[in-house]
Symmetry: C2
Amino acid sequence: MSEATKHFRHGKVTIVEVANHLGLHPSTVSRALNPDTRKMVSSAVVKKVAAAAKKLGYVPNSMASALKTGRSAMVGILVPDLSDPVFPPIIRGAQQELEKEGLTTLVASSYENAQQERVAIRTMRSRLVDGLMIATAKRHDPLVEECLAQGIPLVLIYRTVENRSVSAVVNDDAYGIRAATEHLIGLGHCRMAHVGGPQNTSTGYLRHQAFVNTMRAGNLNSNGGLIAFVEQYTEQEGYLKLKDLMATKKEFTAIVASSDILALGCLDALAEAGLRCPEDVSLTGYNDVPMVNRISPPLTTLQIQQFEMGELAAKTLVELLNNPALTPREIYLRPKLVVRGSTRPPSQI
Amino acid sequence: MSEATKHFRHGKVTIVEVANHLGLHPSTVSRALNPDTRKMVSSAVVKKVAAAAKKLGYVPNSMASALKTGRSAMVGILVPDLSDPVFPPIIRGAQQELEKEGLTTLVASSYENAQQERVAIRTMRSRLVDGLMIATAKRHDPLVEECLAQGIPLVLIYRTVENRSVSAVVNDDAYGIRAATEHLIGLGHCRMAHVGGPQNTSTGYLRHQAFVNTMRAGNLNSNGGLIAFVEQYTEQEGYLKLKDLMATKKEFTAIVASSDILALGCLDALAEAGLRCPEDVSLTGYNDVPMVNRISPPLTTLQIQQFEMGELAAKTLVELLNNPALTPREIYLRPKLVVRGSTRPPSQI
C-alpha cells in the first residue's frame, strides 16, 4: 500500500492530510476551505487548497461540527415497511423538503415489530438525529410518549396517537371511508362487510368507525357480524379475514376494505369461493397504490396525497427544530375517491 | 421552560447532564455506563446511574466514538428511486445483514440525475459513512471511478460498470433475457420487438445484447428495425417507444421488454392501437414486481432475487470494510422465468 493510498483509508481525508500534502499549516487550509474565513488567505492559496482538496477527495466532516453544535442535520424516518408502496412517495416528499434545509435522512423499517421500533429509534438517536418522523404509531404508543418526554422533536406521519400530544400529518381517514361507503350505498348496496385494519392503529380504528357511522347515517345495519379486523395490513390477513366472514354465511353484496393490500386478499378469497367482483360482490380499497388501476377488476379506492404528506411533515419538523415550543398540530389530508371497475350496483336489485 | 426540560433539549442528554442530575462526577457516570469499567464503581452507583440515564433518556453517542475511531458504523445506500418496487426488498436484505454488524444505513434516491447522485454521495461521505452500496451505476461511471480512486469501500448493486474494477452483486441479465426470448421462440414467435433500457446502464445494455444473441442463435432476424431504447425505465417511455416501433408498420407477434415497468407502458400502447395481449401480441417483462401477477393479462416475467441481492452485497461490503485490499468480486444472481397469461403461441400459426 503506497503512502498516498494510506491517506485515502476509507476515503476519509482530513484537513490535516490536505495540509501535509501541500506543506501548509492545517489552520491555513481550514481558513481557505471555509467561505467565512477565506478572505484571510491569499487567493493563490485558496486555489491551491481547493485543488488539493478535490484531488485527495476531502469532504467537510459534518459530524465534527455536529458534536460541537449539538445538531447533526440528520432526521430519522421510521416506517412500518419500505416495501409497502404507500411509504416511498411519503419519504420522497419529506426528503425533498428536508434537503432544502440541508437535512439528511436515516430511513428504517420496523416491520410492525415493537422491539425493532425501539432498536431503530435508539440507533437513530445514537446518531444524534435532530428529530424524528414516525409512521409506525399506535393509538396508545409508549415509544412516542418516551420520545416526547425526552424532548425529541417528533412528527407523526400516516398514523397518529389518541391523545393528540404530538404533531402529525395524516389522511382524513374518516372522510375517506365515508366517501367509499356512501359511494356503495349510492349504488344500492345495503348489506356490506368491512375488513378492517388493526384497531390499535389510528388508520384501522378511524376507518372502522367511519364505516359504522356512515352505515348508521344511512339507516343500514353495520353490525350483523359482517366486520372483521386483521392484525397486520397484509394480503394474507385480508384473505383470511374475509374467509372468516364468508364462513358465517351472512349475505353481503359489497366489501369496504381498510386498505388496498387487504382488498387484494379479499379478491383472492372471493375468487376461491367462486364469487366474481364486481358482478357478485363490489369492493373498495384505500391508498391507490401503483397498479391497483391495472388489476382485474381495476380497484375503486381512495387516492391519498403521499408526496404532500411527506412534504408537510418535513415542514412541520423543520418548524419544530427551530421552535421546540411549537404547539402540536395535526394536519389532515383529504383523500379522493377514484371509482373504477370493482364497484357496481348489486345484481339482486 | 423548566430546568429539566432545558436539559432535554433535542433529546440529546449527555453524561454530564446525567452526572449533574445525580450530583456525581461525570467520570463516575461514564465508568458506570461502560460495561468494561463498570466494576470500578459500586453496584449501588451503577444502579442509580442506570436508572437516571434511562429516566433522562441518555443514549450513548456513537458519533463521538466515530470521530475517534474513524468509523461511523453507517453505510450509504444510493438507489435510482425508492418508489421503484425493485429496490425496497434489496434495501431490506442489505439492512438486515448490516444490522448484524451494528451498521446503520443512510438511504438516498438519485432519480436518475447525475447531479443528485453527486450530491447524495457527498452528503453521505460528509456523514463519514464507512462504505457505499450504489444501485445507480452507469456502464462508464466517473462517480464510481472517483469513489474507487479515493479508496471508499464500495459495492455496486443491480447495475454494474464495464471495467469490472469494483465488487458488484447483480442479476444475471443475459441469462434472464435469454430465458424470456427462448420461451417466446419456443411458442413459435419469430418476429419480435425489443423495448430496451438505457444503453448506458449494464441492465439495459446486457438485456439488449442477450435479446440479439438469442434471436441470432435461433436464426431469427433481430434487427429489422424492431428495437427501441428508452432513456429511463418509466411506463411513459415504454409506451412511447413501442408506439414508435408500431409506427414503422413492421409486423411482430411478441415483445421482450427490458423491465416490468416498460412492459406496462407497452400494454398501454397495444391497447391504444386496438391490439390485445396475448391474443395479438405476447409480452414479457423483467423483475416480477408486486402485482404484475394480478394485472390483465398477468405478466410473464423474470423473478429476481432482490432480498438475496441486498444480503450478498452487504456481506461483500462488510468483508471489504474488514479487508480493504479484497479483490473485487462480481456475483451474478440467476432470475427465474415465470410464465403467466401475457405470452401464448402467435395466432397466425
